[in-house]
């Protein structure tokens, strides 16, 4: 009886999930056809690129809890790598894009090797320093990178009109986002992901349990850098004009963090949701207030509010709110080991039938399952 209703509710939740997913995916994919004008469409491309970046950031931030404010370095390197490979080596656009991603991933190995030796604050400092170094190098080395004059990236589809170009890149970004999300989901469900999350919860204990914490962190750092660089390269191909001040900007790194935190770093769709909210707001602020520094104030205040009041993000906060209106559930975690032991003993003696002291627990506990 219990099991049947249980399975029913699970399948209901599953159906709901599929429906919501399909609706969101359909809304996303048909966006170019109902976007009012090319400007809105280009804003959509920007928001999607933010979603790719902050999901990529979430490989490190979400799984290991290491907050990197310097992912803009990988973004900029991906963008500049793509542009330089096209212009200097005459590679075709998307080959250059992929090679730039691989190159940045290789570059991330020594960087991660140094940065991941320290935890917490020192790691954040190193990540900020990385962006500042890159900014310095790409501004000063102007005969190679174009410096502050900017670098023009040849268009991959030269004969396309602007709206068409936006539409194509909208789908390209959507595809990249899908791959990134898929990869995050796969890691989330794997043993590797379990180890990473153990690092997030308590690194010393994780290490004591035999998880090779250092190499796990390094691998996920490199994966994260790879996807961030792909996002950057795609941005370069779409936007077509690079400037060190914008590519290696601490702001971009902080947007990634803000979006992921706002949505919820432990959720697959958290960064995507955050990117939708923050990205749309940023585009709106830029449109309304133009050149003023208002978007900085807005970003700062929003980040402060998120950090102070909902460090777990919107999705967990929303779920808590929903839970408040549903019948109370108690999970196995809310019982102490002593209570569990007592319950198991009384259940085995009474055959679970008349034991009514925990009616609110519909799921058979894992210990019970193990016994059967």
């Amino acid at each position: 009886m219990l099991n049947a209703s249980d399975r029913l509710s699970v399948s209901k939740a599953f159906v709901a999930k599929v429906v919501v997913f399909a609706a969101c995916a359909a809304a996303l994919l048909t966006f170019p056809s109902w976007a009012a004008n090319p400007y809105i469409l280009s804003a959509g491309v920007v928001v999607l690129s933010y979603a790719v970046l902050s999901t990529s950031w979430n490989f490190v931030g979400g799984f290991t809890g290491y907050i990197s404010l310097g992912h803009a370095a990988f973004f900029g390197l991906g963008a500049y790598g793509t542009a330089l490979l096209i212009t200097k080596l005459d590679l075709s656009s998307f080959v250059a894009w992929f090679l730039a991603g691989v190159g940045v991933a290789l570059f991330a190995i020594p960087v991660g090797w140094a940065a991941l030796r320290v935890r917490g604050a020192s790691f954040v400092i190193v990540s900020i320093a990385l962006v500042l170094i890159m900014l310095l190098v790409f501004q000063s080395w102007s005969d190679f990178t174009g410096g502050s004059n900017g670098l023009v990236v040849p268009r991959p589809f030269p004969d396309m009109l602007r709206p068409e170009h936006h539409e194509t890149f909208f789908y390209l970004f959507a595809a990249l986002l899908a791959v990134t999300l898929l990869c995050w989901w796969l890691i989330d469900r794997s043993r590797f992901g379990m180890g990473l999350k153990a690092i997030r919860e308590d690194e010393d204990k994780a290490e004591a349990l035999g998880i090779p914490t250092y190499s796990y962190k390094l691998v996920v750092y490199v994966v994260s850098a790879f996807f961030t660089a792909l996002g950057g390269g795609m941005y370069a191909l779409w936007f077509g004009d690079l400037d060190p001040v914008f590519q290696f900007s601490i702001l971009i790194g902080s947007y990634m963090v803000l979006m992921a935190l706002l949505g919820g770093v432990r959720q697959l769709y958290g960064p995507l949701l955050g990117a939708l909210i923050v990205g749309t707001a940023l585009e709106y602020f830029k449109l309304e207030f133009g050149d003023t520094q208002f978007h900085l104030v807005a970003t700062g205040l929003l980040l402060g509010i998120v950090v102070l009041f909902m460090p777990d993000g919107i999705i967990p906060a929303g779920m808590k709110l929903v839970d408040r209106f549903t019948p109370e559930r108690s999970s196995i975690r809310e019982m102490t080991a002593a209570e569990l032991l007592e319950r198991d003993q009384s259940e085995s003696s009474e055959r679970a039938g008349r034991h009514a002291s925990t009616p609110s627990d519909p799921e058979p506990s894992t210990t019970e399952k193990a016994k059967r």
Binding site: A121, S122, I128, S140, V257, L296, G300, P311
Partner: protein, 294 residues
């Protein structure tokens, strides 16, 4: 490269190192008290510089006198910030989240400065701006000497406060072992708040000193935070003498490297030192057991 040029750079490096040392001492103070990495430190530095510039423009009085307003003001802001914002963060994730929180404060300050004073570059013109005196053949601008003097005096004052006053003792006790400090009757929350205010007061002094000598603009703080962060990591997080020594060494190094490499590339010394420190001694060269963990 002739000797007098070298000597000139050395003197300038020492003068610059003094300012770095004062600011890094403030950063170290926050870290010691609360395990907080205060990204907004340099934003407050620039804010103080702007206030000095504005004070000078409005009243025409020497901008140094703005210290009498900004130092108490920043102290109060620091106390309030610790009590109202930082103390609210969850202890488990305090270090990470405080970085983000202070980063958010830095962004807000930068945005507001741009909003109120616009992004135009500002500079204070004073009667003695162009004057310099000769020390053993090296020309040293008077404003740089004033900056160094202020920094040295404040560092000395900080040392005296930390070492010889009752408040300094309880502050050091709080840094060393919070629970033990509570046990001997120190109100650690209050002391931590005052310590935070003290740290921010160093930013007020540094900013006023900076405004005498530098062209200021809202996003300038990013150029300061990188070197300062590198200094406190190299010195070992939480160690004030370590921070001061690292600040001196790197300040002089930067100044000397400017001769062959130019100003932009000379800045990389901070980051090279940062990465070298992480490779060789992740806990910093003077820091104690605290550093690597946070």
């Amino acid at each position: 490269m002739d000797g007098s040029l070298l000597f000139q750079s050395l003197v300038l490096g020492i003068l610059l190192g003094g300012l770095y040392a004062l600011l890094a001492a403030g950063l170290t103070l926050y870290f010691g008290i609360m395990r907080v990495v205060m990204i907004a430190h340099s934003a407050f530095l620039i804010l103080a510089a702007y206030l000095a510039w504005w004070f000078h423009r409005e009243t025409g009085i020497d901008p140094l006198l703005s210290l009498f307003v900004t130092v108490p003001l920043f102290f109060a802001v620091g106390v309030l910030m610790q009590r109202l914002l930082v103390a609210r963060l969850r202890p488990v994730t305090l270090t990470m989240m405080s970085v983000l929180l202070t980063f958010a404060i830095a962004l807000t300050i930068e945005g507001l400065l741009g909003f109120v004073f616009s992004g135009t570059q500002r500079r204070i013109q004073l009667g003695y701006s162009g004057e310099s005196i000769e020390v053993f053949g090296a020309h040293v601008a008077v404003v740089k000497l004033i900056t160094f003097g202020l920094a040295a005096a404040s560092l000395a004052a900080l040392y005296v406060i930390m070492k010889y006053t009752k408040f300094g003792q309880s502050l050091r006790a709080t840094i060393q072992h919070k629970e033990a400090a509570q046990l001997v009757g120190i109100k650690t929350d209050r002391v931590a708040g005052y310590g935070f205010g003290l740290g921010l007061a160093t930013a007020a002094i540094g900013g006023t000193a900076l405004s005498l000598d530098a062209t200021i603009y809202p996003s300038l703080h990013w150029h300061w935070i990188g070197p300062l962060m590198a200094i406190i990591v190299v010195g070992g997080l939480g160690s004030i003498p370590g921070a001061a020594i690292a600040a001196m060494v790197l300040g002089i190094g930067q100044s000397l490297l400017q001769i062959p490499m130019g100003t932009t590339w000379a800045q990389t010394i901070f980051y090279v030192a940062l990465f070298a420190t992480l490779m060789l001694r992740p806990q910093g060269f003077f820091g104690g057991r605290l550093a690597q963990r946070f």
